[in-house]
């Protein structure tokens, strides 16, 4: 449920770090808790975000969840497929349902990220 090669936040995002690019999505646990996702709001490419900033929203039939940047930097890409098919976040949260890529300028926040095991523990406590 939580791939070992990813890092996780306590706010239920996953991060795949490749060189200085962080691809960000929400976890299988998060999409399951939200239910059918019907709208994803993401920042424009080029937007500067600081670690911990709210940078978007994932909305289901019943509720809204804010997205928090796990690292500071500029938005390098966003998953345009989600405009027409937000359900990809439910169907494939670690693959086709990714949200944004950030070119990391400030890596300090990355040290506090959780491993898959740590995140699984974190989820269990809730």
């Amino acid at each position: 449920m939580f791939p070992d090669d990813l890092k996780y936040t306590r706010e239920h995002e996953w991060i795949r770090l490749t060189d200085s690019t962080a691809r960000v999505g929400i976890t299988a646990y998060a999409q399951e808790a939200l239910g059918d996702i019907v709208f994803v709001s993401l920042p424009d490419v080029g937007t500067e975000v600081s670690a911990g900033d709210s940078f978007g929203e994932v909305e289901s039939t019943k509720s809204v969840s804010e997205l928090y940047a796990p690292a500071g930097g500029a938005v390098a890409a966003r998953n345009e497929a989600l405009t027409g098919a937000p359900e990809l976040v439910n169907a494939d949260p670690y693959g086709d349902g990714w949200l944004v890529e950030i070119t990391v300028a400030d890596a300090s926040g990355l040290d506090g990220l959780l491993s898959a095991d740590e995140y699984a523990e974190h989820v269990k406590e809730h």
């Binding site: 709208f39 909305e59 289901s60 019943k62 359900e87």
Partner: protein
């Protein structure tokens, strides 16, 4: 917090992997594993869905003149229906606020069954009991019956497959027999589709639920949770008590005046409601249709294009049928159909069109 009460189908919901949540003091299914709100909603619009709404209240009023007594308390006019029919009505307070909206089953002049909302059952029972003359008894029968709602174009076929009667008129009911067990079968619902609400004895509910899901398999049946129930009723513009109707929202404001017997000499809240109707409501319930991707949610503020406050959203969701945000909002007098208003969606003014529900065609009859 008090423990949540459980429906007779609780184990069934757990077995189906339902996401459970507290609703009106009851632990009820919101959606089912492998399905979800959108799939359950589409099953009801396109085939048939079965809802467990056993959390709904039940109360019996019995004794000589029981129907006349209820008619002198609740808003709608029981004189409009005959035994064998049910009626949507309101329990108001003296100020015209809505304590609850409920269904009355008229068994006879001396006996009626009430189906209030789960959270309001005790309050409705208490108000009626306090007003009842000694020869009339008001009894809380919350766990006497389960309630299964069978809703969708294939609902008649599914209910008929169980040997239950399906040919009654809208809002009529039959006291039927299913394998030697009594079941009340009412042509009613809260989805805008053709459908039935079945009231078996509480303990008979699991067997009836199993039979409906088994017989419905070739029809594309889906169990449906309270999440889909909310998107379905919002598409119809049906008010939900606690959001679109409440002690601070009168039936005149909520456009529920059709459920008030205005010509009756007595019902709770009569003077206040007549006065409000005469003066014209200061605010009215409208539909909102989002013209962007924004989804209205309860309590969001609504302003005019010029920025004046108009009111607030009372219900809002994503319409699975229209694939856009829809809602209900109480808006100041002067707002008109077709107006564009702004809803404050977490700080973003989001344009929405004022419309008259239903949002999608309704075919409950």
């Amino acid at each position: 917090m008090a423990d949540l009460r459980r429906s007779p189908l609780y184990d069934r919901h757990v077995d189906l992997g339902a996401k459970l949540a507290g609703f009106g003091g009851w632990e009820m299914p919101i959606e089912y594993a492998g399905r979800g709100v959108l799939a359950e909603h589409q099953a009801v619009r396109g085939a048939v869905g079965v809802f467990d709404v056993s959390h709904l209240g039940k109360a019996e009023v019995a004794g000589p003149g029981a129907a006349d007594f209820v008619n002198a308390c609740l808003t709608n006019d029981l004189g409009r229906i005959a035994p064998g029919q049910a009626q949507y009505t309101l329990c108001c307070d003296d100020n015209g606020g809505v304590v609850d909206d409920l269904i009355v089953y008229l068994f006879s002049a001396d006996r009626v069954l009430l189906v209030p909302n789960a959270a309001n059952n005790a309050e409705v029972v208490a108000r009626l009991a306090a007003a009842a003359p000694p020869e009339i008894t008001v009894t809380d029968r919350h766990t006497a019956y389960g309630v299964l709602a069978v809703q969708g174009p294939a609902a008649p076929e599914l209910v008929a497959a169980l040997g239950l009667p399906t040919d009654g008129a809208y809002m009529s009911y039959a006291e039927a027999d299913w394998k030697g067990h009594p079941v009340i079968v009412c042509r009613s619902g809260y989805t805008g589709e053709r459908g039935y609400e079945l009231l078996p004895a509480w303990d008979d509910s699991p067997a009836l639920w199993d039979a409906l899901l088994a017989a419905g398999e070739p029809l594309g049946v889906s169990p449906a949770g309270l999440g889909a129930r909310d998107t379905l009723r919002t598409e119809m513009g049906y008010p939900l008590h606690g959001q679109d109707l409440s002690p601070s929202i009168s039936p005149v404001q909520a456009r529920s005046g059709w459920a008030v017997g205005w010509a009756k000499e007595r019902f709770w809240g009569r003077d206040a409601l007549l006065a409000e109707r005469e003066a014209g409501a200061a605010r009215l319930l409208w539909g909102l249709r989002s013209t962007s991707r924004a989804i209205p949610r309860p309590h969001m503020a609504v302003t005019s294009a010029a920025g004046e406050p108009l009111g607030e959203v009372t219900s809002g969701t994503f319409s699975p049928t229209l694939r856009e945000g829809i809602g209900l909002a109480l808006l100041a007098r002067g707002v008109a159909e077709g107006d564009t208003v702004n809803v404050d969606v977490r700080g973003r003014p989001s344009p929405m069109t004022v419309v008259r529900p239903p949002f999608v065609p309704s075919s409950p009859r």
